[in-house]
């Protein structure tokens, strides 16, 4: 992996900086690079068009439901059934949001905060743990290292859903079900994160650098946090994002663990409301607008972190 990685980012770096510095050069250089494959201009137009088509189709495929959700979120309940589902009627977004956040003393906001706490806190700690574990597995030699790694790797294969019921029974033994911890604690481990951190640490943190840090008198913990973590940032951002999304979307564990709605994450709360729509049709509107608002934190997280992700990828691989 380390041998392959440097090439593509170097290209990216060139493309990124070139337009700013000297716009024409980028365009001039491209045909030169393409010369060995000179037969290809017609092919490249075709492939570009087809690639764009595929991407456009998929973009549409992914965005139409969100568009629908947004449009539905702006409608009053009477217009929801009677108007075009993909276009606006009277714009009631503000009213809908107000109704949602005031319904039953703002229980929805509580759910959102819970989700942010579960996903944000859980992903942060899970990332730190995975980074330490993966780093240790990559950089220290000790007996049982491979066995340990393989056990963790085995953990990747076990779906979280399959663990929910055993976890419930264990937490029952220690009377921790129906608490914040019953959802938070199981979210702190990310076998995939350990795997990724190990692979990435092995590839991006040179032993010589660690050696140099040691020679300069830094302890192992300090070396880890001041040197290695920085080199591992792109992987860690990836781990954080994956874990954040996984916890945010983890619906089954809270469903099994929680009874008190003050601990519900937003997914479970909306699901509970949705299961009542037959008898209490007003809830449908709340479910729709609630679902719309519940994707905002995910979007924000991605927008904020993708920058680190890309920059980091380049930085890590150039070194």
């Amino acid at each position: 992996m380390s041998r392959v990685a440097p090439t593509p980012p170097r290209d990216t770096a060139v493309v990124d900086t070139a337009p700013a510095a000297q716009p024409p050069s980028g365009r001039i250089r491209r045909p030169q690079q393409g010369q060995p494959r000179a037969r290809g201009p017609r092919e490249s137009v075709l492939s570009r068009v087809s690639a764009m088509t595929v991407m456009a189709v998929f973009t549409l495929y992914f965005l139409v439901p969100i568009w629908w959700l947004f449009v539905a979120g702006t409608k009053s309940s009477t217009q929801f059934t009677s108007t075009n589902p993909l276009w606006f009627a009277d714009f009631n977004l503000i009213e809908n949001v107000t109704n949602l956040v005031t319904y039953r003393d703002g229980v929805y906001l509580r759910w959102m905060l819970n989700s942010v706490a579960y996903a944000g806190g859980g992903a942060l700690i899970a990332t730190i743990l995975a980074a330490m574990c993966g780093y240790a597995l990559a950089k220290y030699r000790f007996p049982g290292r491979e066995t340990l790694f393989n056990v963790v790797l085995g953990g990747v294969l076990v779906p979280a859903t399959a663990l929910a019921l055993p976890l419930f029974l264990i937490f029952s033994q220690i009377n921790l079900t129906n608490t914040f911890w019953s959802v938070f604690l199981p979210s702190l481990v990310s076998p995939f994160g350990v795997y990724l951190a190990r692979i990435y640490a092995a590839a991006s943190v040179p032993d010589e650098l660690i050696e140099a840090a040691r020679l300069d008198g830094a302890g192992e913990v300090r070396t880890f946090f001041t040197v290695s973590v920085r080199l591992m940032t792109p992987a860690l951002v990836t781990v954080f994002l994956f874990q954040f999304v996984a916890i945010w979307n983890n619906f089954f564990l809270p469903l099994v663990m929680l009874r008190d709605e003050t601990f519900f994450p937003v997914t479970l709360g909306l699901y509970a409301w949705n299961s009542q729509v037959n008898q209490i049709p007003e809830l449908r509107g709340y479910v729709l607008i609630g679902a719309l608002l519940s994707i905002i934190p995910l979007i924000i997280t991605f927008l904020l972190l993708q920058r680190f992700w890309r920059n980091g990828l380049g930085a890590g691989s150039v070194k």
Binding site: S82, E146, N274, N278, I280
Partner: protein, 444 residues
């Protein structure tokens, strides 16, 4: 080498999972029915937990807590029963931390009974006497026909009647049907105007069960030990053939229920009637807002002219789980919750629950004219229907599976693959298999 290691890892993981699951089954000591002597009041303050998915139930429980400082009830909540709460109940019974009380729909009660999850409340003060407070058939749902047994307190019910577009029937000079025969004739006349008389719901199998219930059928029977499955009784066959005929002649639409297209069919006048439960009044009012004032409610069409029978769709009860240390107090709370005017009024206002208690049917809120239905006091029709529901319909212990299997068959049938009767026949077979698989004694 790595392959063997991996195999070891997998084996270890599997073993630990099995051990965990083993633990749990070993730990369950649900001992079944509480015997009569067990239901004594506790001394001191009692704290109860109550799981229910009714939105707004907290407010009702607050009223109780205010008036009963010695019996404090804490509300727990979740999705509706089949949405996960029943499974949670079973998990909790297994883990020994089930709540004291839980909401259970009538069609799920036998499942909990078979798994020994319910406390027999018959010995608790006032429970047996409460029988006369409830509509007769609801009591049959909670004692399973056993004397000296009460496994839950009835909460709400869903007696069925026919919602219909009185304006369209009048404008097109079509007589409002009072028998199913007239209904089929009216269906042709309605179809001639371009609309459908109703929508046949392909996945609401409990609505279909309500229609069979009205026709005098029952899907299950229990003689104390053995279960009999009877999805294909004469009454079932009659109802299935009747609707199959309407489907075949394209006289009913077959939109999936509870979807926007379904709502829209009612909202635009593409569907004219709906034989549904009391709680359905609100479904139409919110799903078809443009038709306010144009609906009325009449008794369900009958199989024989002059008959007077109704089906039921839905309804739930409040049960006390095995393992509760305070069945006496739990029973007192359940009785108050489901019989007091105060509680029933609040439940009706917050969740449209239609009471199972006789007195509850006379609540002032259920006597008023309803604006959406042109000011008609529609709940009088449902009160009448409630008194004509047969007490003999019995649910089976694996209704989730039965619903799923029959629903699969119905979905196929409405698209022309097979018939409703075939769906019931295969549901019959698979239900018997499911019972056998759970070692529940079943007669064939």
């Amino acid at each position: 080498m790595s392959r063997t290691k991996r195999a070891v890892v997998v084996a270890l993981l599997t073993a630990s999972t099995v051990a965990l699951v083993g633990c749990s089954t070993g730990g369950s000591s649900a001992s079944g029915d509480a015997d009569a002597a067990a239901c004594e009041p506790s001394t001191g303050q009692v704290d109860l937990t109550f799981t229910s998915w009714i939105p707004g139930i907290e407010d009702v429980v607050d009223v109780w807590n205010e008036a009963n400082p010695d019996i404090q009830v804490a509300v727990q909540t979740g999705p509706n029963g089949n949405g996960g709460t029943y499974q949670n109940f079973f998990n909790q019974l297994k883990a020994g931390n089930a709540p004291d009380l839980g909401q259970i729909e009538y069609d799920a009660l036998p499942n909990f009974r078979v798994q020994n999850g319910l406390t027999n409340l018959a010995a608790c003060d006032g429970v047996l006497d409460a029988q006369s407070d409830f509509v007769d058939w609801t009591w049959g749902q909670v004692n399973f026909g056993e004397d000296d047994a009460v496994y839950a307190i009835p909460q709400d019910s869903g007696p069925m009647a026919m919602f219909y577009r009185s304006d369209l029937f009048a404008a097109n000079n079509i007589a409002v049907p009072t028998t199913w025969e007239e209904y089929a004739v009216a269906a042709e006349q309605v179809r001639a105007t371009g609309a459908y008389i109703t929508n046949f719901s392909q996945s609401d199998i409990n609505q279909f069960a309500g229609l069979v219930w009205q026709a005098g059928g029952s899907w299950f029977e229990n003689d104390g030990t053995d279960w009999t499955v009877d999805l294909t009784s004469d009454a079932s066959v009659k109802v299935a053939d009747y609707w199959q005929d309407l489907i075949d002649r394209d006289l009913v639409s077959t939109n999936p229920p509870w979807t926007t297209e379904w709502d829209n069919a009612y909202n635009t006048g593409a569907a004219w009637t709906w034989d549904s439960a009391a709680w359905g009044a609100n479904s139409i009012a919110s799903g078809a807002p443009d038709t306010a004032g144009k609906w009325s409610v009449a008794p369900s069409p009958q199989w024989e002219a002059g008959d007077d029978s109704s089906g039921n769709w839905g309804g739930s009860s409040t049960a006390v789980f095995t393992g509760s240390e305070h069945p006496y107090e739990a029973a007192q709370f359940a009785l108050w919750l489901n019989t007091s005017d105060e509680s029933l009024t609040m439940l009706n206002e917050s969740a449209n629950l239609y009471p199972a208690a006789k007195e509850g049917l006379n609540l002032p809120v259920l006597k008023e004219g309803v604006e959406f239905y042109g000011g008609q006091p529609i709940y009088d029709v449902f009160a009448e229907a409630s008194s004509t529901v047969s007490p003999d319909f019995v649910w089976g212990p694996t209704m989730t599976q039965t619903y799923n299997d029959v629903s699969d068959g119905f979905k196929a049938a409405v698209t022309g693959q097979g018939t409703l009767l075939e769906a019931l026949t295969s549901g019959q077979t698979s239900t018997i298999d499911a019972l056998k698989a759970q070692s529940i004694p079943v007669k064939e």
